[in-house]
Every structure is written in structure tokens, then in C-alpha cells.
């Protein structure tokens, strides 16, 4: 299931970070992507909310440090990809 979610959110990561060849894995974090700064992080979150129809609270956002955290949160909220 995790991979299905990753596949569905990969286009958003590629668009937000302006890298069409970005390989999105569970371990990927801001330390690995040049353009993953604060502003792009927020744009990423808003785009993911739009894609999934879900809302992330500030307390939930605090714990998102890598793609795996995003995937886990989306799965917990019922998103299946």
C-alpha cells in the first residue's frame, strides 16, 4: 500500500521541487533535495491536501520529516493512493 501512495504523490513532489526525474522513496527528506526549503515544503503540503481532500493539522505537520512520514499520515487518514 505504501508504494501505491508513493506512486500517486510522486508527480506532486516532482512538480513542487522542479525535478522531473526525482525518485521518491520513503527515506527521501529535505536533506536530499536541493529545492526542499520551507516555502516548497508548505506548497507540497497544500498540494497534497488538494490531491487527497484531507486536512493536516499543525501538530501533524510538525512530525513530517521524510516521505515515509507523509505516507504513514496519509494512510492513517484513510488515503490509499
Amino acid at each position: 500500500m505504501g508504494q501505491k501512495i508513493i506512486d500517486s504523490i510522486t508527480p506532486i513532489f516532482r512538480e513542487v521541487f522542479d525535478d522531473p526525474s526525482l525518485i521518491v522513496t520513503k527515506e527521501l527528506s529535505a536533506n536530499d533535495v536541493k529545492n526542499w526549503d520551507s516555502l516548497n515544503h508548505i506548497i507540497l503540503i497544500v498540494e497534497l491536501e488538494t490531491l487527497t481532500g484531507l486536512f493536516f493539522s499543525t501538530d501533524e505537520l510538525v512530525n513530517l520529516k521524510n516521505v515515509g512520514d507523509f505516507v504513514q499520515l496519509l494512510a492513517e487518514k484513510g488515503y490509499r493512493g
Binding site: S29, N31, D37, S38, T58, V62
Partner: protein
């Protein structure tokens, strides 16, 4: 990055990099823009207020991260809606100012650290140091009022850099508590009186020699009426530092100023004369049409006889 001379900033950077890696670049940006001046001031605040306590710094970083995430998310939505979320003052007060968990967990550490970490807030601080403080001088025997103390940052600055006595006014008991903690850490609380008071319902007399009113106007439903009362709190010939956030949504921002002229117009209509001003953006827009949060700060005076 090396912080040999600034160990508290170094620890802060490590904590920020661990908890919010996408925010960590702000430290290098501030060093590039403001150099040793910024490092010394930030190191001093971390040392004095946070007592180099790593647990407290970790908690403050968490609060700052939450505060910034909250406001940046609102900024992305504001970019499309071009309006603040519709909210009354009572709603904002209940959600924010009277909510101890929100104030101490997120809002107060977030705003305090933003004075050092947000470009436009630090530029406002430089404006205060270079343009406003020289008008105050030593301040011996004189009094200032801080209306809407927030974290107490500008009350602390007024007290530590002059011999002024101060009175702070706020509607949030948590803001006043935080202010007294900050002033206590800097050993200046003995020249200060903190008041839980609505200056419109209970006007304050006598007028003071100096006023500071930092980023309060946007929190109100009717800033013009508030400024009309504020004018009466400044002596003729005295000076005030008044600032407002423009195009900057936040959980408790109600009145939308779209440019600095709107703020200036409110000040003049209230009877203030503008002496100097600075208008600073939070960051450079990435693309044409991007709406960027701006801070506008004004030094004002009141002519004799008004």
C-alpha cells in the same frame, strides 16, 4: 556550519535542522544578511532568556516551527483567496490570546524567535535601534507605554537600552506573564508595570513620553478607533513606534492592510505626524504576482497642542 563563538546559536541550529530541516537555511541567510551583529544579538537572547537550557531551546524551536508552518500555510491559501479568514476579535481572543496552551506552546516562542529569524522582523529591530532609540536617548526620568506587549520583546528592548520606566498593556494574561518572564531574565522587571487592561474601555492617563505598539493593528476589527485612543496616550512632542503587518495572514489577524499607505493614512487621521518609516518584505517574491508578507514600521510624533 561552525559556531565556535556562538555556542547557543550552534545548538539552536542543530535543533532546527533536526526538527525542521526545511527551515534550517534561515540561519545562514540571516548570517549572510546581517553578519556578526545578528549573531551577537541572537546568542545573547538564547543565553539570557533560555539560559542555554537545551531542553527549553528544543521546545522553543518546536513552537517556532509550528508557528511558522501555521502562518506559511495560511499565506499559501491567502495567495489564492486574497482575503484573511473571516474572524471576529472575540473568536481570535478565544482561539489564541486566552488559550494558554496555544500561547506558550506555539505563539509566544514563535513570535519571540521571529524577531531574530524573520528578515522583516529583524529589519524592524534595526530600524528601532538606529532610528527610534536615538530619539529616546537615555530616557532618564521618562516613561514609555507598550500597548499590546505580545512577548514583551520591545518592552525588554526599551528597558535594557535606556533608563526609562515602562508600563505594558495587553488583553492576554499569558502575554503579560511571558513579558514579565523575559524582563525578569534581563533584570529590568523592577522598572516595569504589566497591566491586563483594555485601553479603549479603560483609557490610560497620563500621556507617556514614548509609545511602542508593534504589530497590533492587524489584530483588531477597527484599528482606526484604536489609534484614535492611542494618540491620547502620547504626550505632545513625544515619539511613538507603531508597526503593522501587511498581507500577512495569521490565526489572529483580522484587519487586512494591503499596503503601507493604508497604515500611514490611519496614523495621520488619528492625529499622529509621521517622522520616519521602513517597509520591509519577509522575502523576495519567487514569481511575479506573488503576495509576500510585509512589515511597515512608523516613527510618529504628536504636535504641540494636539
Amino acid at each position: 556550519m561552525k559556531f565556535d563563538e556562538y555556542p547557543s546559536v550552534g545548538f539552536f541550529y542543530d535543533s532546527l535542522s533536526f526538527q525542521f530541516p526545511y527551515f534550517a537555511a534561515v540561519i545562514q541567510k540571516q548570517i549572510d544578511s546581517f553578519g556578526d551583529h545578528w549573531l551577537k544579538l541572537f546568542e545573547n537572547e538564547l543565553k539570557v532568556f533560555f539560559s542555554n537550557d537545551k531542553k527549553r531551546i528544543d521546545q522553543a524551536v518546536r513552537g517556532y516551527g509550528k508557528f511558522s508552518l501555521d502562518s506559511m500555510k495560511l499565506q499559501v491559501k491567502f495567495q489564492k483567496a486574497k482575503e484573511y479568514e473571516n474572524k471576529t476579535y472575540e473568536e481570535a481572543a478565544s482561539e489564541v490570546y486566552q488559550n494558554k496552551e496555544y500561547m506558550f506552546g506555539l505563539y509566544l516562542p514563535g513570535i519571540l524567535l521571529s524577531h531574530y529569524l524573520w528578515r522583516h522582523h529583524f529589519l524592524q529591530h534595526i530600524f528601532f535601534l538606529e532610528k527610534f532609540l536615538p530619539l529616546v536617548g537615555s530616557g532618564d526620568g521618562k516613561v514609555f507605554y507598550d500597548i499590546g506587549v505580545g512577548t514583551g520583546f520591545y518592552s525588554k528592548e526599551m528597558l535594557t537600552r535606556t533608563k526609562l520606566k515602562g508600563r505594558g498593556f495587553d488583553l492576554s494574561p499569558h502575554s503579560l506573564e511571558h513579558t514579565l518572564m523575559l524582563l525578569g531574565a534581563h533584570n529590568v522587571a523592577n522598572r516595569y508595570e504589566a497591566n491586563l487592561r483594555d485601553i479603549i474601555k479603560e483609557p490610560v492617563t497620563p500621556a507617556a513620553d514614548y509609545l511602542v505598539n508593534i504589530e497590533v493593528l492587524e489584530h483588531l476589527e477597527d484599528p482606526q478607533m484604536f489609534l484614535n485612543f492611542l494618540t491620547k496616550m502620547l504626550k505632545s512632542g513625544g515619539y511613538g513606534l507603531i508597526s503593522a503587518a501587511i498581507n500577512a495572514p495569521n490565526a489572529d489577524h483580522i484587519y487586512l492592510y494591503r499596503n503601507s499607505d493604508e497604515v500611514a493614512s490611519h496614523l495621520v487621521r488619528a492625529g499622529f505626524e509621521i517622522v520616519d518609516s521602513t517597509v520591509d518584505a519577509a522575502y523576495t517574491p519567487r514569481t511575479e504576482g506573488d503576495i509576500v508578507p510585509v512589515n511597515a514600521a512608523f516613527i510618529v510624533t504628536k504636535k504641540e497642542g494636539r
